[in-house]
């Protein structure tokens, strides 16, 4: 079974990379962008297991390794 974990920066945490990307889009004359915040996506293949067990396992992965909970939020989805 497959899952996707999406990690985003918490509100209020400065994201200079997002700002630099936003400025680069402006240089490409792609207008209308108000802001960009950069995050990460993890595509994970798991053994077959009940969805609840899988979700718990993914949460554990996030809390223990994938996410720095000081500055990042995450969402977990089974695909």
């Amino acid at each position: 079974m497959e899952a996707r974990v999406t990690v985003t920066l918490k509100n209020g945490v400065l994201d200079p990379q997002g700002q630099a990307i936003s400025a680069a889009l402006n240089n490409l004359a792609i207008k209308g962008v108000q802001s960009i915040r950069q995050g990460k996506v993890f595509d994970i293949v798991l053994d077959d297991m009940p969805p609840e067990t899988a979700k718990q396992k993914l949460e554990k992965m996030c809390e223990q390794l994938l996410v720095n909970t000081v500055i990042e939020n995450y969402t977990v989805e089974l695909l």
Binding site: V13, L14, Q64, N68, I71
Partner: protein
């Protein structure tokens, strides 16, 4: 006087740290490899700088989950003196041994230069040979040194005098909140800092302000 350094793939300041500790103590530090699960009794453990595991995932994230870090954690709980410099600081934060995190420099540039530090607390085992308010010179070299913690955490650290070094005289090289450059844990036996005091030990380095830090940590009186 026995010291140890933690060696992980991708660290590149380990040689500098070995030279510095040898210069201070006259004895080569033990080198503890990442797979070790115990660390002998020593007076000081140092996590040097560099790019452990290529900075994959986040700086220090993989290193913080290696077997040797579990051994460091056990030593930390027993009160052993521990210093993390640069990537070593990032590893201690990822391991949860110090509060907060280090983000990409606000300038998005790697900075390699000399900065000034203010000693904001000279009443710790790492700063006892300095005096409060003293301005010292120290080199920095990093891409991810932008210290961040939520307001509540910073307030708590300030109340407990855990911030011992701040970037002084407008030399903050990375955008760190409140100019924070070096912090200790509540128990006072763990120091993390971005600047490199190990590179300011001998006259030939162009400065020797880093010497007092290691002498403090080892309880050595200054000459």
């Amino acid at each position: 006087m026995k010291t140890a350094i933690i060696q992980l793939p991708g660290l590149n300041r380990d040689r500098d740290m070995i030279a510095a500790l040898y210069h201070i103590t006259g004895v080569e530090p033990l080198r503890i490899w990442q797979t070790e699960t115990t660390i002998p009794n020593v007076d000081l453990i140092v996590l040097p700088g560099g790019f452990s595991y290529g900075d994959y995932l986040r700086c220090g994230a993989i290193a913080a989950r290696t077997p040797v870090l579990q051994a460091v954690r056990e030593k930390a709980q027993k009160g052993t003196t521990i210093i993390g410099i640069c990537n070593g600081f990032q590893i201690l934060l990822e391991a949860g041994l110090l509060p907060g995190t280090l983000m990409r420099n606000a300038s998005l540039k790697f900075v390699c230069r000399e900065i000034k530090l203010e000693v904001t607390n000279a009443d710790t085992k790492f700063s006892q040979n300095y005096h409060k308010g003293q301005i010292i010179r120290c080199p920095v070299a990093h891409h991810d040194g932008n210290y961040f913690a939520d307001t509540e955490t910073v307030k708590r650290m300030e109340d407990k005098q855990q911030i011992i070094f701040r970037y002084a005289e407008n030399t903050n090289p990375n955008g760190s909140i409140h100019d924070i450059a070096g912090i200790v844990n509540e128990a006072g036996n763990i120091l993390g800092m971005m600047p490199h005091p190990e590179n300011f030990i001998e006259e030939a380095h162009g400065g020797t302000d880093g010497r007092l830090l290691f002498q403090s940590a080892l309880g050595l009186k200054t000459e």
